[in-house]
Symmetry: C2
Subunit: 360 residues, 2 copies
């Protein structure tokens, strides 16, 4: 049995009775029932995932998977391919949005080189796991071999397990960096969902009408070329995917196997989650959608996964930025169910406190 | 000149050129232009308010204003009036949602007794500023005298200034506690906006159809009684308002006069903001709407103030809970503009760092 199958076999659905227990506790907290809306829904899911009425989130880690894309040579992005590498250095030096936001929410960031086209110097925040120097151009051939696709997912599993073994991780976020990776994500979404290419292809970091039309054509042609031969999610990954998207899928699978909630960033991470849930539908129980991005197709991808996004801030940066912001809301939900007083506790306190006798 | 006029006279509109400067800096940060969506809009507003390209938020305080309402005797709430006092004690003991959430986002909480129907024992977190023991029933008479209405707003100013003088406050949140105060808020909104009573009256903490219909009738009758005689925002407050709503209005006015951004919680705080902006339209520049609540009428109130809510989590608790959550997003926006590297900084670093020469 391969590594992926082994990890997938450990993933179990959450137990429904934990939702009932969580609901009971929420309804006893000193607030009108249901008045904390979506925070209560999140709290119930956290209780079910952690199998604990007092879930806590001491260690939060965002893994940012980086890789280059051969399809970038088709001119589908507003940025040259070199920006992937430059941004990885920016992450390592702490100057990027993801650095600012992980620090803000008390999370750690781990950068994974899955397949940036250039070598990157070692750094304490960097995991060097290069599967290749950028994928091939999906328009002309498979983006990567089947072996590389498997390796990507295995690397995603590996980086999670390495961190977890150092010190257990309570919540995971996934993020991405890779010029042209919205093109790859649109192709994955269209291949898995069967939706129309023009409905799932957006403007990425901000391309104009002309480049957008070219991008739609590229995705359509790539799918015409590959779709008749596709066999399963790892084959989709191999044909139109990206190294970093495979890493994201692997990380999600590993986290779910350890019963750790996973916060998805935007469109690219949701494409990774599509691959992961095709490999193991049960892991959907562990997923949280951080936000609805401006990227066309993201809404469709989330609906396909039956996930409701927490934030709607018109973010379209990637890197894990939306995941970082949502982690704070998710942690707040956990604190609500574990730290608020119940009506009973308030009553007890009232009895032992003369001051409170005035309020009955 | 009275205290209110004096403070209002200090409020100035923010300078538009600060938006241009902020935009310039945002466009130089290492990310695609505009890719952080609403966080960038917030950052620009913060720069304009603070007149500083590096706004920071060391001290964040949420003021929770509590008061009772005579109209509660009409049976417009799912809870008895006594709950106002009980919840104030819950705040003081740290067991309520607002305690959990302010701690989570690194803010302080200050509770203000504006007019709870019972005496509350002294406590370090409590400001004892009782204007009366609950308002009168607006259906039969003015909720409070004109003098009391002025006093409420002055108390709101006072509590802000007291805290500010202890130690400058960088961001203020306002929250509320008061059984039946959505009834009062609906009446204020209808009186100021001219919208239909049934469109601005919701279910508060969760009343059924029967109580909701009664609530609509109460607001409609109260307005039929008072509206022909209304003269200005302080008179609206006096006739159908609440002590805590007046306090909220005063706190907003004071914060704006000190150029401190104000984060509104839900429907009741927005009603307070309506009174405040009627007294001084310029202070709208300082307001942030934390969330869109489930309370019918909240959307209309926000549209009236031309404010876009940051979160949409179906919250309907009050206390300042939505404001606490939004404070974290607002602070994140400030950190984005003040802490992210610019392309220039990244380039400089690249020149002095041989490692980075590979990426150009």
């Amino acid at each position: 049995m391969g590594k992926i199958d082994e990890v997938v076999s450990k993933i179990v659905s959450v137990r429904l009775e934990m939702f009932t227990e969580a609901q009971k506790r929420l309804d006893n907290l000193t607030k009108p029932q249901g008045s904390l809306g979506k925070l209560e829904d999140i709290a119930k899911r956290l209780v079910a995932i952690k199998e604990n009425l007092n879930p806590s989130f001491g260690r939060k880690v965002i893994f940012v998977f980086a890789g280059d894309h051969g399809v970038a040579e088709e001119g589908v992005s507003a940025y040259p391919k070199e920006v992937t590498c430059q941004m990885v250095y920016n992450f390592l030096k702490g100057g990027a949005a993801i650095n600012v936001l992980t620090e803000h929410v008390g999370a750690e960031v781990v950068i994974v080189d899955m397949g940036v086209a250039e070598d990157i110097e070692p750094h304490p925040l960097l995991k060097m796991k290069k599967v290749g120097y950028g994928t091939k151009n999906m328009l002309k051939e498979k983006a990567m071999t089947k072996e590389e696709a498997i390796q990507c997912v295995e690397v995603g599993i590996e980086v999670f397990e390495e961190e977890y073994k150092k010190n257990p991780v309570d919540m995971v976020g996934v993020g991405d960096m890779g010029i042209a990776n919205t093109t790859s994500s649109s192709a994955i979404l269209a291949a898995i969902s069967g939706e129309k290419v023009e409905d799932v292809t957006g403007r990425g970091t901000g391309v104009d009408d002309k480049i957008w039309q070219r991008k739609v054509d590229v995705v359509r042609k790539a799918l015409q070329f590959h779709l008749p031969h596709v066999r399963g999610p790892l084959d989709v990954l191999s044909r139109v995917g990206g190294y970093e998207i495979g890493g994201i899928a692997g990380c999600i699978i590993a986290a779910a196997s350890y019963k750790v909630p996973v916060v998805l960033d935007g469109f690219i991470c949701t494409a990774g989650a599509l691959i992961a849930t095709e490999l193991c539908p049960k892991l959907r129980d562990y997923l949280f959608a951080s936000h609805l991005s401006g990227e066309k197709g993201h809404r469709i991808a989330l609906e396909h996964l039956k996930l409701v996004p927490l934030l709607d801030l018109d973010l379209r940066l990637g890197e894990g930025t939306g995941a970082a912001l949502a982690m704070s809301l998710i942690e707040a939900s956990a604190k609500i169910i574990s730290q608020m007083a119940t009506f009973e506790e308030a009553k007890v306190a009232r009895e032992i406190n003369n001051k409170l006798n005035k309020c009955k």
